[in-house]
Symmetry: C2
Subunit: 379 residues, 2 copies
């Protein structure tokens, strides 16, 4: 039996948490103090209500950041909360169907299912969602909406190609379904050029774009937002007002000031420069150790992924890795139909944003070691 | 035609917003700066996840405030968000029944209905919910839960008597339904002594108590919480983690520090002393103008209420009052079955926390004037 392993020694191949050095802490403290001195009379009160409870300065800054009018912005308590409200908004019934990439963000799947959705998984390829597969599925009817993470997808790392973006928007128009695109990692591109969002390619009423400040500024302010047509934006605001009134004004004002002071833009450049070498080193290590099992070279974001053949039971694999200090996330949890995908391989999400090449190599070798073992004899 | 009336001149007989002088702004700014200096390394990061995402210091302070163990506390983004999660937790199906006082908090009704509930209104009397009526309804079956605001109820101002508290808890035990009690105004008692909460009288598994710092410290931090048995607390935490991860750590830490520094307790005393004379003066004015139509002398909280006989259409009454600078809230919106209650009277919620006796008298006289008019000839 090995020694118990402390939290500090764990190799986290699990959550997409920003490394602490990617958060501009001192600057954020400064902005917070400025907000306190400028808005002390209102900052601890309820936020003003009305047509859109999002702080007007923050919506203006976000509008400028994305090149859209502020009335197309809805601000919520983190992007997951925004996704929950968007799901409630688009679910006209207590039973409805959602199409999503398979695999996709596990918490998103749980939100859809809790809201009553049946989720159909559309396979994802190196250049994004499988358009031919989607086209065939649409013959049996359109979903309440399609959920996609087009940039540096969580969990695969794949980015939707420009051709497929056009094709997806055309299918949504043809079959009359809305697209919900989630773009938390979009700003973190380490190589190449950024294709337009689906929202930029389509009619504004066709796409709801969900963004977040968690990966480009900090997660602690819990600022997520949706870009949609102004009428959807008002509907989301009304739904939010009836669910939690508004996000804390303090957090919204700090975010707005961080944009106004140029902090978000400066931090984006800084984080890209910080993570680019980690990405490159991680790709080298993963290629060497995983070979063909590696699914993508992401070129941005936090994640790579691999599909590793194995006879191992996933729960036993996770436990065995954890016992040796390697924390993995369930691969099955990323699939809408967990059981169907669970046979014959382990899907491994590889968050590289906080790991040294040595840590990553150690973690990946452990995963290979455990996937290669037969598990019949493991307690 | 009278002059257009600016926002500043409006007489707000509508929302329960704390007067700005009830918020200890300077102290809150000081606590925030201290939090920034003490926790700068973690405050802008994701909150630690795990069994309970609520900040441990805040749960300890809230536990001490209410005399319960910290593991019975769940902290959320304001008490409305907590109520939404509690509703989702207790709604085992997509269709379920909730019992609630009639009238009750309008946003709570909308939350229940959006989650798929059919709400049955139980009339409320001067000493709280009508126990005999409730007992008769229970013969047809128990609800998924009963929602009550036992202290200085929103919107009536009524407080549940100690005898009825015992009776309600006994009925919940006998018929096996949970009680959700909402106590945002409980600390604001201006006269007399405070009866125990339902949670204090019952088996912990039987009652979920929802509290808020909005009326005793400030609304801007958006801190609401639930007190329940530890297992429900964990379930709510898991539901929250899958919906919005956690409330901002910054807000939770400022609230915790405000407790630790004695600010919450000091502010409670200060706000009671501030609002007691407003309450007393408002009662005098309301008695004089409304006579028997006044339903309660609350002795605490923010609200009185009246039931005023009228032939007026409510929407026209609200518009006419608004045109003369008196902002009213729909009385019908406080009833689960709006239409049934709308005939023959107007239910008036009277928030007195921010009004001078002169403003209140003006507002109430306008309401009487408009309720006494016949409306056939109004455009």
């Amino acid at each position: 039996m090995t020694q118990p392993i402390g939290e500090r020694d764990l190799i986290q191949l699990s959550r997409g948490v920003p490394p602490v050095e990617a958060i501009p802490t001192a600057e954020l403290c400064r902005q917070t103090v400025e907000v306190l001195s400028e808005f002390s009379g209102s900052i601890f009160q309820y936020a003003p209500m009305g047509r859109n409870p999002g702080d007007v300065h923050l919506r203006e800054e976000l509008g400028q950041f994305h090149g859209v009018e502020p009335d197309r912005l809805f601000v919520g308590n983190g992007s997951l909360q925004v996704l929950d409200l968007v799901t409630a908004h688009l679910a006209r019934d207590s039973h409805f169907e959602v199409f999503a990439e398979a695999p996709t963000y596990d918490r998103a799947l749980r939100i859809f299912e809790r809201r009553g959705a049946k989720v159909l998984g559309i396979p994802i390829e190196g250049d994004g969602i499988d358009i031919d597969y989607l086209r065939r599925q649409l013959k049996s009817g359109a979903p309440a909406f399609l959920y996609t993470i087009p940039d540096f997808q969580n969990p695969t790392g794949a980015t939707l190609s420009i051709d497929k973006r056009h094709a997806l928007v055309a299918l949504a128009e043809e079959h009359g379904f809305p697209i919900v695109e989630d773009i938390p990692y979009r700003g973190l591109r380490y190589v190449g050029s950024t294709p337009p969002t689906l929202g930029e390619l389509a009619n504004p009423a066709r796409v709801i774009t969900i963004g977040s400040l968690s990966k480009i500024l900090c997660p602690g302010l819990r600022i997520g937002y949706a870009i949609s047509d102004p009428s959807t934006s008002s509907d989301l605001a009304a739904l939010a007002e009836d669910t939690y009134l508004s996000p804390p004004l303090l957090c919204q004002k700090v975010a707005a000031k961080s944009f106004a002071a140029g902090l978000v833009h400066a931090n984006l450049v800084r984080v890209r420069d910080l993570l680019r070498p980690r990405h490159d080193a991680a790709v080298t290590v993963a290629r060497e150790i995983l070979g063909d099992a590696l699914l993508t070279v992401p070129g941005g974001g936090y994640f790579m992924s691999a599909r590793i053949p194995t006879y191992a039971e996933e729960s036993e694999l996770l436990a065995a890795a954890r016992a040796e200090g390697v924390v993995l996330t369930s691969g099955r949890a990323f699939y809408p139909n967990a059981s169907a995908e669970a046979t014959g391989h382990f899907f491994l999400r590889i968050p590289f944003q906080s790991l040294t090449p040595q840590q990553l190599a150690f973690g990946l070798r452990k995963v290979l070691e455990f996937t290669e073992r037969r598990w019949a004899c493991v307690a």
